[in-house]
Symmetry: C2
Subunit: 420 residues, 2 copies
Amino acid sequence: MTLKSFVEVQPDSHFPIQNLPYGVFRPESGSTARPGVAIGDYVLDLSVITRAGLFDGLILKGSDCFLQPNLNKFLAMGRPAWKEARATLQKLLAASEPTLRDNATLRQKALVPVEKVEMLLPAVIGDYTDFFASMHHAKNCGLIFRGPQNPINPNWFHLPIAYHGRASSIVISGTDIIRPRGQGHPTANSGPYFGPSLKLDFELEMAAIVGPGNELGRPVDVNEAADHIFGLVLMNDWSARDIQAWEYVPLGPFLGKSFGTTISPWIVTLDALEQFACDAGKQDPPPLPYLAEKTSKNYDISLEVEIKPAGNEDSCVVTRSNFKHLYWTVTQQLAHHTINGCNLRPGDLLGTGTISGPEPDSYGCLLELTWNGQKPLSLNGTARKFLEDGDEVIFTGFCKGDGFLVGFGKCSGKIVPSPR
Amino acid sequence: MTLKSFVEVQPDSHFPIQNLPYGVFRPESGSTARPGVAIGDYVLDLSVITRAGLFDGLILKGSDCFLQPNLNKFLAMGRPAWKEARATLQKLLAASEPTLRDNATLRQKALVPVEKVEMLLPAVIGDYTDFFASMHHAKNCGLIFRGPQNPINPNWFHLPIAYHGRASSIVISGTDIIRPRGQGHPTANSGPYFGPSLKLDFELEMAAIVGPGNELGRPVDVNEAADHIFGLVLMNDWSARDIQAWEYVPLGPFLGKSFGTTISPWIVTLDALEQFACDAGKQDPPPLPYLAEKTSKNYDISLEVEIKPAGNEDSCVVTRSNFKHLYWTVTQQLAHHTINGCNLRPGDLLGTGTISGPEPDSYGCLLELTWNGQKPLSLNGTARKFLEDGDEVIFTGFCKGDGFLVGFGKCSGKIVPSPR
Ligand SMILES: [Ca+2]
Ligand SMILES: [Ca+2]
Ligand SMILES: [Mg+2]
Ligand SMILES: [Mg+2]
Ligand code: NI
């Protein structure tokens, strides 16, 4: 029998009692930030649950981790605390449990309608890393920029390639994205282009939120890496392809990325995703021992991107992909990140890289979907090579359970013009 | 007449009253962290000066910025606060000023012998960026890795190239550096090398500490960029050349750098450096308007690197360079960083990149000094291609004034073996 909550949850909701993703919110503007979990169309205020003494397990009893304005303290506590919190909350919200269900005053305080709240970044993100873990994406980028000989670099199959991203410009879903200005390639007989980016793109990604992390000099074993990942969010790694193409040799992406990165507000835990785990597939060549996993997992998460042009009523689906297309698993990514001794801290963000599938309608960015502008998409009849001012880009992601969804909600952002 | 302090300062001290660099320290282990300024062989405890009510200027009176465990709050206050603090402290420490000089109790509390204190990172560093601003370094790297045709990429002369670095692994001078493990290039008929780095290097750099910063979407004008830089530190961007060479295409340096970056504890302010400003030299081609400065400044800062092998009494000077060799100024670096709207936050660190001069004995890393190991250096008779376990690398930097130095102290770190 399927677990049910006393809180009404529509069958197409992303947030049934099987999910219980964590976020940080203000119940009304001006009030203090606090952690919550999503349940149906409500947010359960964990500061209220803490003050009511309802976290009564061995680890969380008396803890102030949910009285913080971010999740970092809870993230640092690790999987035993995460499991205890999940068990406590699934019990508290269950249809059969009277504690909260039958206490109208407490219920009124603890359950806030989601349409009233302001969502914030769930954690202080000390460092943000972006990987490049989809083979289809790596191959398409190689074909577009370097041609058909060896589109994928030889190192790619031996290690999960990544770069350090910019932490300061990570924003929460719903934040407008200002079109960046910058330099592009010179044209014949003139200097570099300078002005608003002419090739603004999205990148369909997901990102892991790091839990306890590790001390400097102490790598995390790949078979213990899952205990360092609290959960996943949707991530849009906005990219200015013209700025990127001109600046990135030899030190990698910089201003072509650092103007903004959007994440979804709800962290879906690995514990909630566990029932959607699937085999990650064989890697050839076999990875070096420090990347060899006893069990190599992906997750079956359906992903979709829509674009809603300015003034349009309707949005258009431009791609459908799936998290399971990743070649390198998130646990391999994390273990590789630490093999040199690099320390991860609670709240760090590890982006997967663009999640492209094998088919053209599953590519994860406009660079691939329009083949660098050569094959424009049609959005309700208007052509689109790259993003235009006023375009809203909306990601969704969910796993399909037996009679319920475990979803991520939305990750969206609208392009606004460059400052003059 | 030269300004003098009642605190005795040796003529070769880096910390006369003309300098007054800021750091964060614990007077004894276990005590709380607090800001201080260096004066001769003492640290002036700014929390004591605050509590004694001696910051009595318009901006700092009543402020708790020096009661914090880091400098971020003071950094955010901007140049008017920085100038007021400097004026207050230069007056308070002057030979002619009785307030502190003649109050033995207060003096005892406020002036802590530097050999007793533990120095900490001066600020919470939200993001760390590393530039590539020395033309000699860019050229040598190009010659070594790509050969004599076009050793410098065409983009290099149009923009200050940079990459995002790892903030979590920035450590204070004196912290041991654990030799990183990782992958290197495959050799014929075998997979990639895996093990302790065989090409561990230092990079002689300096770094700017960001002041107020800017909001997302609001670039900083290059002619106002100096007001966003509090001061400079020495920085060693430790680099594992074998890991770097194998991983860096196409997304730039990652694990070859992120195992550790060392900074010196004392931030020398731009106000103290102003009298050592020099012309930055003509840029050809002329920079785009957003990088064109009314006055383009470098600073005449002598830099030196010594290596002290394990068991040796003496260290060997391996290079002498100067900050003024930079092609792109720190203000151009900062303005470029924000042109796409990227936000800088107080305490952010902007590394200059390796500061190589034109002559072989002024190159800023072993990669260049030994030409990728082809021409070993002699250290007191032993050959050195790259760093060995037990090597201590010591940077110093100073400006020569009329009868005094304005210096940075040391930035040092010792290599310890990889974990087994
Ligand atoms: Ca990306
Ligand atoms: Ca560097
Ligand atoms: Mg981004
Ligand atoms: Mg480094
Ligand atoms: Ni960072």
